[in-house]
Structures are given as structure tokens and as C-alpha cells.
């Protein structure tokens, strides 16, 4: 009996030891699962834990883009969400609107000046996340094909719609198996990202800007500028387009079949790791009525409103956004656009022409409206573009239909 009591006492004593020196365990859900990137993230987390003298431990959970959003949503709904979560910028408004995310405007304070991309994280005048890794799109050009197309004469200015179209047309005439432009098929969450730069570059918009005379926003996606932009996009698609999935287009580009593709910084990584047998150049997206404007998206770090460790979570978010940490992470993942303005001055970003173009394009980028209705607005725009390219081919009618759908969504709010 006595030995049993001693055992129980020992058990209780041992059991209470960890709680006396309890360390905080942060749950961090993220999407960087590639075998060359994940170990770097692990090592950065180890550095963070060491800097915190072991008082904070970070438990990383991997998500995939295929089902990550639903996993996060269900975890939040069940009240067992992670403390820190990486969010695609398109999802922020839905989670912020339903009070799942911690507002951080006051916590961030004056820190915002050192980073960019805050507008992606702002919903109804409040910041709900810290921009971490940003992403834009630029034109990747097969320089050999371009030189073949213009052996003697100088190519027209590719920064204008007219010049861009002429270049793609000229490359397209080089051979039966050569295409001027990589045109996306009806891929969910991808096609609209390809069309929007042309819309914005032609002074078109998705929603009106609120003004004192019309404070409520409404859709302007079937404006004259938008119709022109979609007509231009369709002309490229019809006359010089290699139509495939984004992956298929990029494969064809790397095989030397496509002259110009619109892509993101994953393409820079691919070109650097497996250089094609031709010279690749990059250029800004073209513009029609105004200078070209590209797409801005990115990944944001948000804190769960129900987290018990908001201070520690913010500390971790600050750490991941520290310039030196961002540089280390971007080098490992071959990312071109960190959110930290100090990080982007590192030679890694400055020395490579393609990364310079990507960061130069960041001067002229915009993003879709941050609204919980965005998934439905996106679907309406994508449907219009799909129909214009592959279905009814009635540009104005499809855009008007999209405008009506968007207006009804906004009116429901």
C-alpha cells in the first residue's frame, strides 16, 4: 500500500513538472510542402524557437491548395483552428467577415511602412493579416523566337496592346508548331487572373470606386473598356493562342513552342533549375488605354481570433516577416516578391533580371476587391470569359450577364 502511494505521488510530481515550466505551443498551418522548401521553413522555425529561449514551440501542419481552404474553414468553425494560418489573399474577406481572424491594425501600429501588400489584408478599414509572400505576373518571352521574328527590324513597343499583338502575331508566323501566345483554357481560379491584367490595362474595373455621389459600389465589368479588353484577349486567343492549362502552356513554352506566356515567379524557379535551350526574357504586362497593370495576389499570415496565444502568434508572424528571414525563405523557395521592402534590396532579388522585372511590375499592380463575395464574383467573371472564348462568343452579352450577377451579389449584402 505504501509503495503504491509513493508511486502515485511520484506520478503526480512528474506529471506536474512540465506544467511548471509550460511552454507555449503555437499551431501554424501552411502550404509550403515542397521537399526543397519545407526543411528551410523547419530550420527558420527552429531559429525562432531558439530566439524565444524555448518558451515557444511551433507545430507546423501542412495544407494543400486543393483543399486547404475548406480545412481551415472547418477548423475555425469547430473552434479548433490554428493559432497562425497562411491564407490565400482571396480568402481573407470571408474569414474576416465572419470574425474568425484577429484584427491587427492596432497591434501592427507603425510597422506597416516597411512592408507592402497591406491592401490585400485590409477588410472594412481593418487589417486582418500580415502580407508575407506576394505574387504578380509578368510576360516571359522566348528571346530566340523574338529575334527570329525580327532579325533586322526593331520589334514594336511591347508595352502597348497594339505592339504586343503585333509581336505575338509575328512570332506565330515562324512555323506551324510555333504559337505567339500561351492562352489559358477554362481553368478554375486561373483564367480570370489572365484576363484581369488586360482589363485593368485598358482602364477597366470590376467594381466602381465609391464617390460622394454614388457611395455604394456597383459592377462596371461590362464597360466599354472591359468589352475592348476582352475582345483584345479573345483576338490573342483565337489568332495566335496555344490553348492549354497553365501547366501545359508553360511546358510548351519551355519546349520552345510558345513565344510569350503570362506567368508568375514559379516560372523563374523552373527556368533557373531547368534552363531551356534558348534565352528567356521578361517584360511588363502591356496596357491599352493606360500603362499595363498586373495582378497582385499573395499569401498572408493571419492570427486566429480564438487563439489563446495572440501575443506569441504575433511574435511569430513578425519573425517570419523579418527581412533576413524573408530573404532566407525566398532564396530557398525561389520566390521573387517578399513583402518586406528591406528584404527586396538583397542581391538575390536585384542581381537577377527576371526578379527585377517581377519587382518592377510590383510598381503597377492591383488586386481584386477584398470582399466575402469574391468567390462568386470571380466565378461570374470567369464564366463570362469562358463563354466569350469557348462558348457563345458574345463578349458584350456575357460581360453584361456577369455585371448583373455581381450587382445582385453586392445588393444582397
Amino acid at each position: 500500500m505504501k509503495s503504491m502511494l509513493v508511486s502515485i505521488a511520484l506520478f503526480i510530481a512528474v506529471g506536474t513538472v512540465p506544467s511548471l515550466s509550460a511552454k507555449t505551443t503555437l499551431e501554424f498551418w501552411q502550404f509550403w510542402t515542397d521537399s526543397d522548401i519545407r526543411p528551410v521553413l523547419d530550420s527558420l522555425v527552429t531559429v525562432f524557437e531558439a530566439e524565444q529561449n524555448g518558451e515557444i514551440e511551433v507545430n507546423i501542419t501542412d495544407l494543400t491548395w486543393a483543399d486547404g481552404q475548406s480545412k481551415i474553414a472547418i477548423a475555425f468553425a469547430s473552434g479548433r483552428g490554428p493559432d497562425v494560418v497562411e491564407l490565400g489573399s482571396d480568402w481573407l474577406a470571408q474569414f474576416a467577415d465572419t470574425d474568425q481572424l484577429l484584427p491587427i491594425s492596432e497591434l501592427v501600429g507603425a510597422d506597416t511602412s516597411g512592408w507592402r501588400g497591406w491592401s490585400l489584408a485590409r477588410y472594412q478599414d481593418e487589417l486582418y493579416a500580415w502580407p508575407w509572400i506576394l505574387g504578380s505576373r509578368v510576360m516571359f518571352v522566348n528571346v530566340n523566337l523574338l529575334q527570329q521574328a525580327y532579325p533586322d527590324a526593331e520589334a514594336p513597343n511591347p508595352a502597348t496592346f497594339a505592339g504586343f499583338q503585333e509581336i505575338t502575331r509575328k512570332i506565330h508566323t515562324l512555323g506551324d508548331e510555333i504559337y505567339g501566345w500561351g492562352s489559358n483554357t477554362a481553368e478554375k481560379h486561373r483564367l480570370y487572373k489572365k484576363f484581369l491584367p488586360f482589363l485593368w490595362g485598358n482602364a477597366g474595373r470590376i467594381l466602381s470606386e465609391p464617390s460622394p455621389y454614388a457611395p455604394r459600389r456597383y459592377s462596371v465589368v461590362s464597360s466599354e473598356m472591359a468589352i475592348e479588353a476582352l475582345d483584345f484577349y479573345r483576338q490573342l486567343h483565337d489568332s495566335v493562342g496555344y490553348v492549354d492549362t497553365q501547366r501545359g502552356i508553360e511546358d510548351a513554352f519551355m519546349a520552345g513552342q510558345v513565344g510569350i506566356v503570362l506567368s508568375g515567379d514559379w516560372m523563374i524557379k523552373r527556368i533557373n533549375l531547368n534552363p531551356p535551350p534558348f534565352l528567356v526574357g521578361t517584360m511588363f504586362v502591356p496596357g491599352g488605354r493606360v500603362p499595363g497593370i498586373s495582378f497582385l495576389g499573395g499569401e498572408l499570415l493571419a492570427i486566429n481570433r480564438k487563439s489563446r496565444y495572440t501575443d506569441e502568434a504575433l511574435e511569430f508572424v513578425r519573425f517570419l516577416n523579418r527581412p533576413d528571414v524573408q530573404v532566407a525563405f525566398c532564396k530557398a523557395a525561389f520566390i521573387s516578391v517578399p513583402s518586406s521592402l528591406a528584404a527586396v534590396t538583397d542581391s538575390f532579388f536585384v542581381s537577377q533580371p527576371m526578379m527585377r522585372t517581377m519587382n518592377g511590375q510590383m510598381q503597377r499592380v492591383t488586386h481584386p476587391p477584398v470582399t466575402p463575395d469574391w468567390p462568386k464574383i470571380e466565378a461570374a467573371i470567369e464564366r463570362a470569359v469562358e463563354e466569350a472564348l469557348f462558348g457563345s462568343r458574345f463578349i458584350a452579352g456575357e460581360l453584361r450577364q456577369a455585371q448583373r450577377t455581381i450587382d445582385s451579389l453586392i445588393a444582397d449584402d
Binding site: Q69, T98, T185, V243, P372, P375
Partner: protein, 288 residues
Amino acid sequence: MTQRWRSLALLSPWLLTLALFWLFPIGWSIYLSLTDYQLFRDPSFIGIANYLALLRDSDFLGALENTFVFVLGTIPVTTVIALALALLLQHPFRGRTLFRAGFFLPWLTSIVVVALIFTNLFARGGYLATLASLLGFTPPEYGFLFDDRTALFAIMGMDVWMSVGYYMLIFLAGLEAIPRELYDAATVQGASWWRRFRSITLPLLRPVLGYILVINTIKSFQVFTEIFVMTKGKFDTATIVFFIYEQALTTDFSFGYASAAAYLLFLIIGLVSLLPFLAFARQRRSLW
């Protein structure tokens, strides 16, 4: 403890599982289908408004149409090919086991893997496009999966290829169960192959045929993975389960609306699955 309580105690693990993981979710989702429940928001009771809205929702109706095309297009083809293969592989010949295993193999392969392989086969410049060109047909310009006219049929073709081996095995089991004496007697009386097939094989295979039709109907109405992997519902390939997935887990987490769609699907599957039973029951009565 009485015999009754002892039985209940022994059954309780299963009963608890049934109640927790089957009955409760079924009841809860029926309730949700009568509400406007969206994740993160409290549900409000709205009666059958979701059901009425679904019947006016062009996306749902489009998905319903695609699902019916899929069901009506795949089930007869799969059944006929599976039966033909079973008849061919019923009699012993050299390499029969190899053929049986070969036809069954696709069923054992992960549907995601099969879908990815077929995505490449159906691509522009892919094997099937090249084959079509060699045979004098014009393949779709951007590939079979990127064309409204061919995408759903391409997926249906893959589904038939994948499932035919499984139903062939069930037919083979049914054929083995038919007494040989019946065929011997018919042969002695001069019955042709077709006559034996019509008068012996088909009637005695009826229970197996009924089973295959019912399970294939249920499976085909629930088609999802192929669509998710190959087209994401684009090019007129969205089916009802894909619609439910989109509503519940991607667009705005409308669980109420998605639940209503799920119960409409349940109703449709229930009614359609009854058809083989009713048809066979009528035939049985006419036989008697």
C-alpha cells in the same frame, strides 16, 4: 441480466456507432437542408426554400442534366461490355486468368491515378487525339477535355473502362452458378447459342443483373472524383455531387443549400434504383 439486455449490451458498440456516425448526421443534415445555414453563421429555419431555389438554379439543373447523361450513358454500355467479357472469359482457354486479372486491374487502381493518366491521353496531341487523326477523325482542337461537346463523354469513356472489369467479375460469378445441366439439355434439344443465352443465361442472371444495375446506378449518380481531377466541372461536366462540393466547401460554405441538393440526389437515386426492382418484379409476375 436477461437475455434481451445481454443482447442489447453486445449490440451496443454497433448501435452507438450507428447512432453517432449515421443516424445523427442524417437527421442533422435533413434539418440543415431546411435552414439557410452557412459555416460561421447561425442557421435559420426556412422550410423548403432551399429545395425550391434548387429547382430554379440553372447551375444545379445543368449538373442534374450532366449527371443523367453520365448515368444513362455509362450504365448500359458498362453492363453490356461486362456481360460480353464475362461470357467470353467463362470458358477455359489458355491465358484466361491473365485476361480476367487484366480487365479487373483498372478497378484496383486509384481513381486519381487513372484520371491523371487519362487526362494526358485526352490532351491535345495526346495518344487519343493522334489515334483519332490517324483514323480520319478530327479531334477537338484543344483536347477532348477542353471542349463542351466531348469532355463529359471522354470522362464517361474512362469510367466505363475502369468499371467494366469489376462488373465482369460479378457476372462471371453469376454465370458459374447456373447449372451446366440446363445448357446440356438445351444443346441436346438443338437450341442455338442465342436461344440458350436468351432462355437460360439471361433469366437466371436476372438477380445478378439487378444487383449490378442498382449498385452501378448509385455509383454513377455519385460521380465526383473524375470530374474534380480532370475538369473541375468546367466544359459542361459539373455533376450533382460536384455541385454539392462546390456549394458546401468552396464558394461560401452554404451547408444548408448543399444539404438540400444532397437530399434531392438521395431522392433521385432512391427512385431510379427502384426501377430495376420494379421491372424484374413485373417480369417475375408475368412468368408465374
